[in-house]
């Protein structure tokens, strides 16, 4: 009996790592630019459809297109921040929010117009293969996508810790005035950050295709999911996003297994409410 639970938990952890990568993008954007990307999940779904189309037309494996799609999303994010969002950075919160709600509505409905409301499955040839590790049965697609997510997240960690640009971006997040005083081009760093955030969500969306079917209605759901994860993990904490993602992944898997799959996100929301009340800065966040 316990081996079933173990399987469910491991599956949750693996799914959670992809969630974590998606939330990482949101966390990076909010931590530095201080703008809430309300269109986050919608961008993930765009990546899902892009992967789906590439797979259907050219037969490209999602694992092959992760980096190209992430790069494309980086450019989109860079441009979006430069053209649109930079002029909103100083504006009141609700105005930023509404701007991005507008972006989200447009993205999700354009997808709806192109692809229709039905789910689009990507049938990988190895979708049903699995590894047997002792009592565990691990799906090939889950382990591949989770490892890829982990590698990309590690790359981002390294970038922020060691590269000069990464350190400059962290400086903007820590002390905006100070960063401007020492001559950093804050607006450009913001654009880079938004690009990186979207690259994360693009990669996460691409990997998500391996374990879930694309549908426009997933957009708002993923946005909320990313928010929940980031708040639970702690805004501004990169490790927190991954931990929160794993936590939500496991909670979803267990709730889906023990109670009912359609009620799984209810537990995520309950978790969010509990965290907001008991520890508003999140599990790994600093007091804001």
């Amino acid at each position: 009996m316990w081996s079933i639970y173990l399987n469910v938990v491991v599956q949750g952890v693996l799914t959670g790592l992809i969630y974590g990568l998606m939330a990482l993008g949101l966390s990076v954007i909010f931590g530095v630019v201080r703008v809430v990307n309300f269109a986050h999940g919608e961008f993930a779904v765009v990546a899902m459809y892009a992967t789906f189309v590439l797979f259907k037309t050219l037969g490209l494996d999602p694992l092959l297109v992760v980096l190209p799609i992430a790069a494309a999303f980086f450019i989109v994010g860079f441009l979006l921040q430069t053209v649109l969002i930079n002029s909103f950075v100083e504006r009141p919160e609700h105005e930023q929010f509404i701007l991005l709600v507008g972006v989200a509505i447009i993205v999700v409905n354009v997808l709806l117009m192109i692809f229709g409301p039905d789910t689009q499955p990507t049938n990988l040839s190895y979708a049903f293969d699995s590894y047997l590790v002792g009592p565990l049965i691990i799906d090939k697609v889950r382990i591949y996508s989770a490892v890829a997510a982990l590698v990309i997240a590690a790359g981002l960690f390294a970038f922020f810790r060691f590269s000069r640009v990464g350190i400059a971006i962290r400086a903007c997040a820590d002390n905006l005035v100070g960063a401007a005083v020492v001559g950093l081009n804050v607006k450009r760093l913001y654009a880079l950050t938004f690009g990186l955030g979207l690259a994360c969500v693009g990669a996460a969306g691409t990997l998500m295709v391996m374990i879930a079917d694309a549908a426009p209605s997933l957009g708002p759901a993923y946005t909320l999911l990313a928010f929940i994860i980031v708040i639970i993990g702690g805004l501004g904490s990169m490790a927190g996003a991954l931990v929160g993602g794993v936590l939500i992944g496991v909670s979803e898997a267990l709730a889906g297994f023990l109670i009912e799959p359609s009620m799984k996100s209810m537990f995520s929301f309950a978790l969010l409410i509990a965290v907001l009340v008991l520890r508003p800065q999140g599990l790994m966040g600093r007091r804001l």
Binding site: S87, F97, I98, V101, G102, V103, N109, L112, L224, S262
Partner: protein, 333 residues
């Protein structure tokens, strides 16, 4: 109410009278379709006004107002279906339940310092939580929906909101008018000034001895109660309720569009916003259908674009500008 009226210039009085008279007399010349559009406009003006009270005046961003619409709608509909209690009593239950929810969310948020975007997320979380809960409440129809019976013999009972189109049109007009009066009255009250102080600078308001917590709680509760009344109207107008529709986040966003486009924190902003947006959306549907495009997303894409353009160019909304042109600017409270 009289005090508010006295505070207006003759131009403002004349315009309001004309506008109101036109709405009262509209069904005389308008056809069925136009009346239904006007009903929709007035409904959005009403719920927009309720949201505006909380965001525009007290400065608390809620993105989960669909929660109160849904709760009000379900409360009244369930009472009607199971106990035969009409909406005039059911609305009290609706207000009570929604106010209690609003109070709980407000308390959670304001007590624990959950502010701004975080508070908005808390409101979304509650709306989504409730949506999924209602999906699994079998006595409320679950995800299959709740249907109000359509009974021929009750059609004349306008007091039970059972009747033709005009019953709903005038109910919506009554609601929208009442909301305008209530908000106008409240914003010139002691509480209204407290809201403005909290909105502008909470720390300063506290320093002046204003109980910010109480002011914000009052805003959430009044707004929730008002929105629930809109929900009762919705239930009896459409006669069917689906959790996936009524509690959905897109509904919450729909509610906030009119006040934002019209002008946050103005009394006529939500009304003007509804009069701009709803006809635009309707005509867009007609136009796309005429061109043979039957794409469900067109209207929403257009709304998204409107939202972005308005917030980009005129973040304070259409009404302050329009009022300036007409020479009827609202007195800055």
């Amino acid at each position: 109410m009289i005090a508010v009226w006295r505070g207006l210039s003759w131009r403002q009085r004349a315009l309001i009278t004309l506008f109101f008279a036109a709405l009262v007399l509209a069904p005389l010349i308008a056809d069925r379709y136009l009346v239904s559009v006007l009903t929709l406009i007035l409904y959005f003006a009403y719920v927009g006004q309720a949201w505006n009270l909380m965001m525009g005046y007290a400065g608390q961003l809620s993105l989960g107002h669909a929660l109160y619409v849904g709760l009000g709608a379900y409360a009244a509909a369930l009472l009607w279906i199971y106990a035969g209690i009409g909406p005039w009593l059911g609305v009290l239950a609706a207000i009570l339940i929604a106010t209690a929810f609003g109070a709980f969310i407000g308390w959670l948020g304001f007590r624990f310092g959950v502010e701004g975007v975080y508070f908005a997320l808390l409101t979304i979380a509650f709306a989504e939580f409730t949506r999924i809960a209602f999906d699994h409440l079998s006595f409320a129809g679950g995800s299959g929906g709740l249907f109000l019976p359509y009974e021929q013999r009750r059609l004349g009972e306008w007091w039970n909101l059972r009747g033709g189109q005009l019953v709903f049109y005038y109910t919506a007009l009554l609601l929208a008018t009442a909301a305008v009066i209530v908000v106008a009255r409240l914003t010139r009250s002691r509480l209204g000034y407290h809201w403005l102080a909290v909105r502008e600078d909470e720390a300063a308001a506290r320093a002046l001895g204003i109980n910010a917590f109480r002011a914000k709680m009052a805003a959430v509760m009044i707004s929730a109660g008002m929105t629930a009344v809109g929900g009762v109207f919705y239930a009896f107008y459409y006669n069917n309720l689906f959790p996936g529709q009524i509690f959905d986040i897109s509904r919450s966003i729909e509610i906030i569009l009119a006040p934002i486009v019209g002008g946050l924190g103005t009394i006529f902003g939500p009304v003007i916003g509804a009069f701009v947006l709803t006809p635009l959306g309707e005509s867009l549907i007609t136009i796309t259908e005429r061109f043979g495009i039957n794409a469900p997303g067109v209207k929403a894409v257009f709304y998204g674009a409107v939202l972005m353009v308005i917030i980009f160019l005129r973040p304070s909304g259409v009404w302050p500008w329009l009022a300036g042109v007409l020479g009827v600017s609202e007195r800055k409270p």
